[in-house]
Symmetry: C2
Amino acid sequence: MYRRPLFGIRVLDLSRVLAGPYCTMILGDLGAEIIKVEIPGRGDDSREFGPFIGNESVYFLSLNRNKKSITLNLKNPIGKDILLELVTKVDVLVENFRPGTMENLGLGYDVLKTANPRLVYAACSGFGHTGPYSHKRAYDQIVQGMGGIMSITGHPGGPPTRVGASIGDIAAGMYTAIGILAALRYRDVTGEGQKVDVAMLDCQVAILENAIARYFVEGKSPGPIGNRHPSLSPFGSIRTKDGYLNVAVGNDPMWVRFCEALGKRELASDPRFTTNALRTRNWSELEPILEEVFATRTTTEWIAALEEAEIPCGPINNIEQVVNDPQIRAREMVVEVEHPGIGGVKMAGIPVKFSLTPCSIQTPAPGLGEHTKEVLQAMLGISDEEYDRLSVEGAI
Amino acid sequence: MYRRPLFGIRVLDLSRVLAGPYCTMILGDLGAEIIKVEIPGRGDDSREFGPFIGNESVYFLSLNRNKKSITLNLKNPIGKDILLELVTKVDVLVENFRPGTMENLGLGYDVLKTANPRLVYAACSGFGHTGPYSHKRAYDQIVQGMGGIMSITGHPGGPPTRVGASIGDIAAGMYTAIGILAALRYRDVTGEGQKVDVAMLDCQVAILENAIARYFVEGKSPGPIGNRHPSLSPFGSIRTKDGYLNVAVGNDPMWVRFCEALGKRELASDPRFTTNALRTRNWSELEPILEEVFATRTTTEWIAALEEAEIPCGPINNIEQVVNDPQIRAREMVVEVEHPGIGGVKMAGIPVKFSLTPCSIQTPAPGLGEHTKEVLQAMLGISDEEYDRLSVEGAI
């Protein structure tokens, strides 16, 4: 078996639902060994989230590929001891509990650091481990609202709008992965582990792009900006005969080519629209003209015409179109993973392509506790009898 | 000066505008030395993007903190030689040109790898370095449309909606940083560098969350889902007297507390609404009742009442509220950076908090070519005379 970039890195993953599991999915896809620790008899809450195939949550399956599952009761003293032993044999621990949970279990970073000073301990939470809201409960919806992205998403004059994917969780999962990888580099160089604290709310601020700059320079909050660029025109979505199209006319020579592709050469010389600044200023006059033209042909027809003229453009794909797109297929961004009992399950692929150590999905998401025995025997040298005793004691 | 996690890592950054510079901003914030290579006399296009303070683009300043700038003309043979020499002295090279650009300059990965086999070469492009669309031009708007996120963002029955921040660029920048850090780990262990190829479009697919699973299980594309959870109720945005509020009633006991906090105890026992499944099924009846109640008080008043009842909730902040939020301030997620000539500039802080090696913004964004002489002298041992000659020759 070829090596993936993070071969040899072992991660103990106490996280549930989305932000933490998305982080450890990234690390597992990159080749780290992910040991997912779940509550005996119940497991990760997201095992109960739809949609389902048979009894299996496809939500869970798509986030937990390339991971092993062990069960461990962290409220049981023996379960706790096992966790402390496992901590001495891993590089990274990831959790996304509410701050204070690990301390209440007697498993706070101070305790784990004593057991393994080289440990990278990553905590991903709604509001972070410091500050006045630290102990509040957060969901994606709530941090999207508090972090500002909803206030700039949507159509001008309309209501604030949630991003349709859980970007509150996903951005936090990605930044937690980045923090872990940076802390591992530091650990590799110096021998010292540390705690990495990532808040979903902070990550929402980090992805706001130019909105903060605009607020401080202009002195007022930007509103929802719709589908068009604030200072380039035409640059955004236009309705066609059968849907929508995105076009990006980035400069004035491109505007001339664009008008020609539309069969509207006269527009190119119309004094209201000759420069980008004029087109932006006079957008309310230009928009209805373009809408009338674009309504005459389908999205596919317009894309062919505009690409011929080298105008950057593209469809607004629905998910069916996304999963069938030739580029997305060529890049293996939709992959099928064989699951015992239910067959092939399609899910998003891995977006980082390595020339020397290509990544792939090597194992499907695990059944609850599927690897408990294997992991405890391999890592802690536990005998069959001890394993049975742990089970009787309710530790696993 | 204390050490940050990536101390000792040196990055040659040929990238411009957003996706690449966002990636190298992350690496620079984490402590890598970022040497931004810009076109002589012109620099990164985003130096011309608004908003401005004086002549400085705040857009550029906020993305390019913690970096040095050198100018280098890559079309000039001497400039090219200098780049090849620099490549032997760095760990990472990042570029976000259209695929083929580096090859056309005679600086493709094959050439650079020969110069430095330990190099991690990261290419971030619209569609990636393989596949039928590889050479097409992409902008954030276009990949947001093609990648599916616009089709699931927005209100049911309404038009597809762009995410208000450039998530097409930002997700790609984050995944490029993840790929680089993973490849560095592999390089540190094995001594071998490699090429990392990240496409904006692929990253849009990777952040779609459960939309792909829903499509394959249900056989139809999910549409824009608005601001509410598809299977939990009430879980989403509600209009108040002066704005909006997000609430997340995750289970039935919480529903009872929610009704009490609203002063509507009778709702809790209303047979149409006693379970989550019923509330979701009868949402069209429940929604107007809740809208009437919530219209009687302000967002702030409702948050106080709901927090008292331990109901997860939060405001939908505009950017002014975000930058003044006590938690965001406590977490240093809005920081002020002093810029020579123009004074303090506020921007987003660093969302990964390290216990041992905390990160901070140590230098403001550089002037165009501010560090050319310093970097070439330190890294290549160039004399004052040679430097002047490079300038005369148009190489820098």
